[in-house]
Subunit: 300 residues, 2 copies
């Protein structure tokens, strides 16, 4: 099966304690699609401005990503985000956000995309995420990624979204914020009461947790030492997970486990470079090698 990924397409400017990059390829749809492309054919939906470098489209097309859903907005400028990471490489500060064409993005799914069975609503406004669901013709699995911003400013819309999706992906602090709970397991269970069949809680360097009404799965993160730029790690996690699920085409406990493990591994490579630098240099075999290592380290 193929995977439909909708989200932001961005030009990021990033400062870390040891390096800086300007206007590099980023965005939740870009990281998510690229991550998924290790496993399945991908269809991307997003918007850019006239300043969009066409070589970025070519890079994604060479990965087999169907870019026909990328709208180039006449006279507009591409969404830009700039941020600065602190010494610990976990905490970050947003320096500037220029929404530009993303501000009134109204995703229009090409006819063939509407029949998508596996859909990742990448991190972005819940308004956009609702619009995508409105156009779907009965998908098998719709998973949304969200973050603190949307919990804070679009709470009512997010609550409605939770009743329309199969799975939610967010980090542990966001899960606690969304539910007003202090314990992450309790927070996860409360989210299940709000609508989705399952929730995947990202814990960064500490791994991830999957909760459904039937199962709880725990995952360590791959122990990475060479973090260059954490931007996109969460998007790659969601993209890798959904790409693998689409490739198998079934949603069963063992498949979900492998999917989440792959998600953590794509993220582990993502943070080893800026933008898609490191991910562009690896193959599925590299992911499989780390999967074997992670299984060895985590089995007991």
């Amino acid at each position: 099966m193929s995977l439909l990924v909708v989200g932001s397409v961005a030009l990021d400017s990033i400062e870390t304690p040891s390096a800086a990059r300007e206007n590099i390829l980023g965005g939740s749809a870009v990281f998510g699609s690229f991550a998924a492309s290790f496993f399945a054919p991908v269809q991307l939906v997003g918007v850019v401005g006239e300043d969009w470098p066409v070589e970025h489209t070519r890079l994604l097309e060479r990965r087999g990503i169907d870019m026909s859903g990328l709208e180039v907005s006449k006279g507009g400028k591409t969404f830009r985000w700039s941020g600065k990471y602190m010494r610990n490489m976990n905490d970050r500060e947003t320096l500037e956000t220029q929404l530009n064409v993303l501000g009134d993005f109204q995703p229009k799914l090409p006819e063939t995309f509407r029949r998508a069975q596996f859909v990742l609503l990448g991190n972005g406004s819940t308004v956009t995420q609702h619009m995508v669901i409105d156009q779907l013709a009965g998908a098998d699995l719709v998973v949304a990624d969200t973050m603190n911003l949307w919990i804070n400013i679009e709470r009512e819309s997010l609550d409605r979204l939770l009743k329309r999706i199969d799975g939610l992906v967010l980090n542990d602090e966001e899960a606690k914020m969304l539910t007003d709970e202090l314990n992450v397991v309790t927070a996860g269970r409360r989210i299940l009461d709000m609508g989705p069949k399952f929730v995947v809680i990202k814990k960064g360097e500490h791994g991830a947790m999957f909760l459904s009404g039937y199962d709880a799965f725990l995952f360590p993160a791959y122990p990475t030492e060479g973090v260059v730029d954490p931007t996109g790690a969460g998007d790659c996690f969601a993209g890798g997970m959904m790409g693998y699920l689409a490739s198998v085409g079934r949603i069963e406990p063992e498949t979900i486990k492998t999917a989440i493990a792959y998600g953590t591994l794509v993220a582990s490579f993502c943070v080893e470079g800026f933008s898609l630098d490191r991910l562009s240099a690896i193959t599925k075999a590299d992911l499989d090698r780390r999967l074997g290592e992670l299984r060895q380290m985590a089995s007991f």
Copy 2:
């Protein structure tokens, strides 16, 4: 094999957001010994004052813990610690520390204890930990537990200790503090350079990591929702781990993995009650049941 545990024996007064207890049984040697007693015979070495309630000794003896190494200091008072946990049950504030007889504790190992092959130097002053090693007649495995306090005030003695022990147990923040590193894996590897053959890094609700020159193992924590009092969790982790290792009598990768998994599970029960309340109410079968659950949740 039996396990020798040396450390503090305390009367704790604890406040949590929902309850408070005064003068309850605590201390690193107490939690560590009790945790180990699920797996192996234990010998405890510690000191108390004349105010020590003898029923505490009886409780530990009923677990098969050899209490002949518990010194009752004439005219002295037992070590007392009081602390208050914040709403998140992770952050805590020390309200008062009365060292009392622990202040000049000079552990004297009974003759039979000196031939111990498995030794846990429970969390406490490195000066005490050195004195125990001085009295050992060639143990197979000596593991020390430490914390931020000793890193801050006994750094030179701790550095010497690291060259005399086989393994070190500490939490992730302490590992970073000890090595001045920001990445926990890098911090762990730096600690190996400082002497011990292995390091076990505790990450609280996020589990634990084992690092040696040959292996890296990752462990999730059991997903506990009902945290009543976190006091002693770290001591129980170290005690459970060492108790299991002593029971097997060999130190091999698979044994270490099971030992650390048991350590996290004893800790998961410990936090479900004040003092030894919850641990006193369970059996080895309860630990084995959680081990099965944890394996199911963490395999992928």
